[in-house]
């Protein structure tokens, strides 16, 4: 069962990282990509994903443009901006140091 609460504090990182490796994904594809990459361990809810996308677009980390999907419908495809790439690096560093700190606590206790 994919977990949605496991994403707390890491949604921005996941979105940025996914878009860094696969630019031009639209909302649904992004959601699926995270789920697949985590081997179903993580699932992003629509109610969290879209506000996060808007927030990051507002902050200038993402840019979006309308693209035509295979079924003929239009969808908004997102990609990282230069600021987004910098933010991804910062988020990755923050996450890794956090994970390292948690691991140290687990080892020492």
């Amino acid at each position: 069962m994919p977990r949605t609460d496991a994403l707390i504090g890491s949604l921005d990182l996941l979105v940025l990282k996914t878009l860094a490796s696969r630019p031009g994904l639209h909302g649904y594809a992004l959601m699926t990509a995270i789920q697949v990459a985590s081997e179903d361990a993580l699932r992003v809810e629509e109610g969290s994903l879209y506000p996060a996308l808007r927030r990051m677009e507002e902050a200038g980390w993402l840019s979006a443009k309308w693209v035509q999907k295979d079924n003929g419908r239009r969808a908004r495809a997102y990609r990282l901006t230069r600021a987004g790439k910098k933010q991804l690096a910062a988020e990755e560093e923050r996450w890794l140091s956090l994970a390292e700190a948690v691991r140290q606590v687990l080892r020492s206790v």
């Binding site: 649904y28 629509e46 879209y50 506000p51 808007r54 507002e58 309308w66 999907k69 239009r74």
Partner: protein
């Protein structure tokens, strides 16, 4: 996301909403295709409304978005109440249109900087003296006087020009529509001091002075003439002049309202060498850092010495000379916008126009505030609900401001259309009074800025009081306290006070101006101007009296002509000559008006002959020593003594005594100024030693069957067929007299317009407030009527405070009126702001307009059927 993208999305909000909806549905569709339950996906998304709102907020400039939404809401509200909105827009448009027209005229005449280099550095030299019956301020100086000032070593560059004057083309250039051209004589430093550059050819150089036959013309005239080559001869003025250059496109001289077309060297001006001919206006450009006060003292000293020499002649009484020199003064006035007689004549009238327009604008704003406050009070529930739903105080205030901004925008747009018609119409009105002002009324950046400023001021003024109601509604959200109604209606009473106050003030001032005009036009002139034509005749060369006499005889033969007289100028044309005269026993002295007239002059103008028979034998054989005097002269010098045959002496400037004998006495006439009492006057014959050869004269023609415009052409033909004389202009003596009242006529017209507008606005406002008051208390009144209450008492209860507010406003207005009137005294004739009638008329008019406005509302209130009313409630 950049702010430009956000701005674009804010302005294209519908498209943004469509995009957001499309993204949502695209996602839902794809999720369902992949086998997810539609309801579960919908739940995951949350509320569609929240989705749209959050999406919108992320993509737009939120403050601008809400502003636009409020603006749309305000517009919808105004359109929903179309009747009231129309009344508000029309009220404001009337007032803003008047303000814009006043500003456009003031801009063109008084405010627009001259199109020259650094116009702020320019000053005009004005002179003054405090002598009885002497102008307190004048601006012209003789050319020798100017040269005396110019030669001084001062920290300024002086230059001088004559007033532009219409001269006939001696040979009219082919294709030129006009018979005359405006010529101005300028000093050598004129173009240099103004920092002007030519657009074609060159401007004047030192070797063009004093009087080389060369001309510089304006670009407008150059175009009208078909862009003639440099070196072309122009036949304007006494002799042909060679075109040497063309000024820049915008330059039309330095006299707003009186533009020039041809500039000639000062030395060519007629009478330029005469120290007594004050025809040059002196300007100067201050050097950077120079002190205006020091320069003024320096110029005054030199000018006073010049005047002392000029007045040191036997023809001027020593006492008069001493008084003149003691009171003479010189002042440097700012001339950023140039200086002209039109500015002097109409500056004050324009100030009155602007003042009246501003007060009427205030009345209109109060009116609109009134209606908006009434609306705000009826919207209490809606506003309280909005406040309860979280709309802040500022948001509610902003909504009110936006509504008034829509109103003021519509009003300024409609007002601009009104001003486009009104400003030229006012100029046209002046032209019909014989005073043509040539002003460029094109809309420029300053006028647009003024209109924008006006829109903002109107928005704020209109929203001020209603916004107070909103603020307070927000604070008392949800409450239903009685004090709320009380406070709201108090605001309405305050507004009514303001409206009555302003309206009474406008009516007071308007009454003074209209009465002044009425009294001025009703002034007994002492002659009959009806049916008399004044024909201005100019001879190619100076002609002897016999030829002029022959011309008079010749024009008398024109069919339809009954009588013809000749004179220097028509009565009340503003021209005059004063000489020092001695007469009577014991011998007394006075300054007396002299006018050359022919023998039939009194009959043509219907001036009664009181004694004697005039020059007796007509102008050709007239005696130089025989003169007519007027009644005032006879009374002043001869009192009860017999008048005929009495001697009088004219003492000329060189001290020579020229003797005349009185051969007749005629009635008093207003001679130069309609406002001044008839002067002491001597009428000398247009023949003999007193008047030898002359070049100009006026023929006064009385037609046998009522002279009309039809007589003008036969007269022109008769004069010009002689081959020696040309007609420079024909107008009726009545037009000449009317020109004396041009300013008063204009002011009376404006006063009528603004007085009517303010009364109308007051009546509308009062109707609105009473309607609101009765509508609010309808239930209570119905109940009281049903319980046997008497109508009059109920009305008294409702109207007590409103009536008090109106009465206080009326009293305050009449108290302010005399203060406003005091500022107008220079424009008033024979009217006092302390006259009881000046107070009674505005009060009566306000009371009448109040009764007319209140009547229908009160009648409806009294005739209300209580049962019907309560059932409706």
């Amino acid at each position: 996301m950049g702010w430009i993208t956000r701005l674009q999305r804010t302005l294209r909000s519908r498209r943004l909403e469509r995009d957001l909806d499309e993204e949502l549905s695209s996602h839902l569709e794809e999720a369902c295709e992949r086998g997810r339950d539609p309801e579960e996906v919908q739940r995951a998304f949350g509320s569609a409304l929240r989705w749209r709102e959050e999406g919108r907020d992320a993509h737009v400039l939120v403050w601008l978005d809400t502003l636009l939404l409020d603006a749309k809401l305000g517009l919808r509200r105004l359109l929903a109440a179309r009747g009231v909105t129309t009344v508000m827009v029309v009220s404001l448009a009337l007032a803003t249109g008047s303000c814009l027209a006043a500003y456009q005229l003031a801009d063109a005449l008084l405010l627009r900087p001259l199109p020259v280099d650094r116009p702020g550095q320019l000053r005009a030299v004005a002179f003054g003296a405090s002598l009885p019956e002497w102008p307190t301020r004048w601006t012209r100086l003789s050319y020798p006087g100017y040269l005396r000032l110019e030669r001084l070593d001062t920290p300024a560059t002086l230059f001088a020009t004559t007033v532009p004057h219409a001269h006939p083309w001696t040979v009219r250039p082919p294709g030129t529509p006009r018979e005359t051209v405006e010529i101005q004589y300028v000093s050598s430093s004129f173009f240099g001091a103004l920092g002007l550059a030519p657009s074609v050819g060159r401007l004047f150089a030192e070797d063009d002075f004093p009087d080389a036959p060369r001309a510089v013309i304006t670009q407008a005239l150059w175009r009208q003439l078909g862009a003639p080559q440099i070196g072309t001869l122009l036949h304007a003025g006494a002799e042909p002049v060679e075109l040497v250059g063309v000024t820049g496109p915008a330059f039309r001289g330095v006299a707003p309202g009186d533009p020039s077309e041809i500039f000639l060297p000062a030395g060519r001006a007629p009478g330029v060498e005469l120290a007594g001919r004050n025809s040059f206006q002196t300007f100067l450009r201050l050097d950077p850092g120079a002190s205006s006060d020091v320069l003024q003292a320096q110029l005054f000293d030199t000018w006073r010495r010049f005047e002392a020499e000029r007045w040191n002649v036997p023809g001027i009484a020593p006492d008069l000379r001493r008084a003149y020199l003691a009171s003479a003064h010189l002042r440097l006035e700012h001339a950023r916008a140039g200086a002209s007689a039109a500015q002097d004549d109409y500056g004050r009238a324009l100030a009155v126009l602007s003042g009246l327009a501003a007060v009427v604008l205030l009345i209109a704003c109060v009116n609109v505030a009134h209606l908006m406050t009434s609306q705000a009070l009826t919207r209490q529930r809606e506003l309280s609900l909005r406040a309860a739903l979280g709309a802040g105080r500022l948001r509610l205030l902003r909504m009110m401001l936006l509504e008034s901004a829509w109103l003021s925008l519509a009003a300024v747009l409609c007002g601009s259309l009104l001003a486009r018609w009104l400003a030229p119409a006012l100029l046209g009105q002046l032209a019909s009074s014989g005073r043509f002002l040539d002003l460029d009324l094109a809309v420029n950046a300053r006028v647009l800025l003024f209109a924008a400023g006006l829109a903002i001021v109107v928005s704020v003024l209109c929203a001020l009081v209603p916004a107070g109601q909103v603020r307070w509604a927000g604070a008392a959200a949800g409450s239903r306290s009685e004090s709320r109604t009380l406070r709201g209606t108090r605001a309405l009473d305050g507004l009514l006070f303001g409206q009555v106050f302003f309206c009474t003030t406008v009516l007071f001032v308007a009454g003074l101006l209209i009465t002044s005009f009425g009294r001025l036009t009703a002034t007994e002139t002492g002659f009959d101007a009806e049916g008399v034509l004044a024909v201005q005749v100019r001879a190619e060369d100076e002609q002897p009296p016999a030829l002029w006499s022959a011309l008079v005889e010749h024009t008398r033969t024109v069919p339809g002509v009954e009588r013809v007289a000749m004179t220097d100028w028509p009565l009340l044309s503003g021209s005059g000559t004063t000489h020092r005269v001695e007469a009577g026993a014991p011998r007394r002295e006075a300054m007396v008006e002299f006018l050359c007239v022919s023998s039939e002059w009194p009959e043509v103008l219907g001036i009664p002959r009181l004694e004697g028979s005039g020059f007796a034998k007509g102008i050709a054989e007239g005696s130089a020593s025989a003169v007519l005097i007027n009644r005032s002269f006879a009374r002043h010098f001869f009192a009860d003594q017999p008048t005929l045959g009495q001697a009088l002496w004219h003492i000329d400037l060189d001290g020579r005594r020229i003797e005349y004998a009185v051969s007749g006495v005629v009635g008093d006439v207003r001679q130069n100024d309609l406002r001044a009492p008839p002067p002491l006057a001597v009428y000398v014959p247009c023949a003999g030693e007193a008047d030898e050869r002359r070049r100009h004269a006026f023929l006064l023609v009385r037609g046998s069957e009522g002279t009309g415009p039809w007589l003008a052409e036969p007269l022109r033909s008769a004069v010009e067929e002689t081959g020696m004389f040309r007609v420079r202009g024909i107008e009726t003596q009545k037009q000449v007299v009317q020109r004396q009242t041009a300013v008063e006529r204009l002011l009376a017209l404006l006063a009528t317009y603004f007085g009517t507008a303010s009364l109308l606005l007051f009546a509308l406002g009062l109707y609105g407030v009473l309607h609101f008051l009765f509508a609010r208390r309808r239930r209570e009144l119905s109940l009281r009527i049903a319980l046997g209450g008497r109508g009059v008492r109920l009305l008294r209860d409702v109207l007590a405070r409103t009536g008090l507010a109106a009465t206080l406003g009326c009293l305050a207005g009449t108290a302010l009126g005399p203060l406003a009137g005091r500022g107008l005294e220079a424009l008033l004739f024979d009217v006092s702001s302390r006259d009881p009638a000046s107070f009674a008329t505005p009060i009566a008019l306000v009371a009448l307009a109040g009764a007319v406005a209140a009547g229908p509302v009160l009648r409806r209130a009294l005739s209300t059927d209580p049962a019907e009313s309560l059932r409706t409630e």
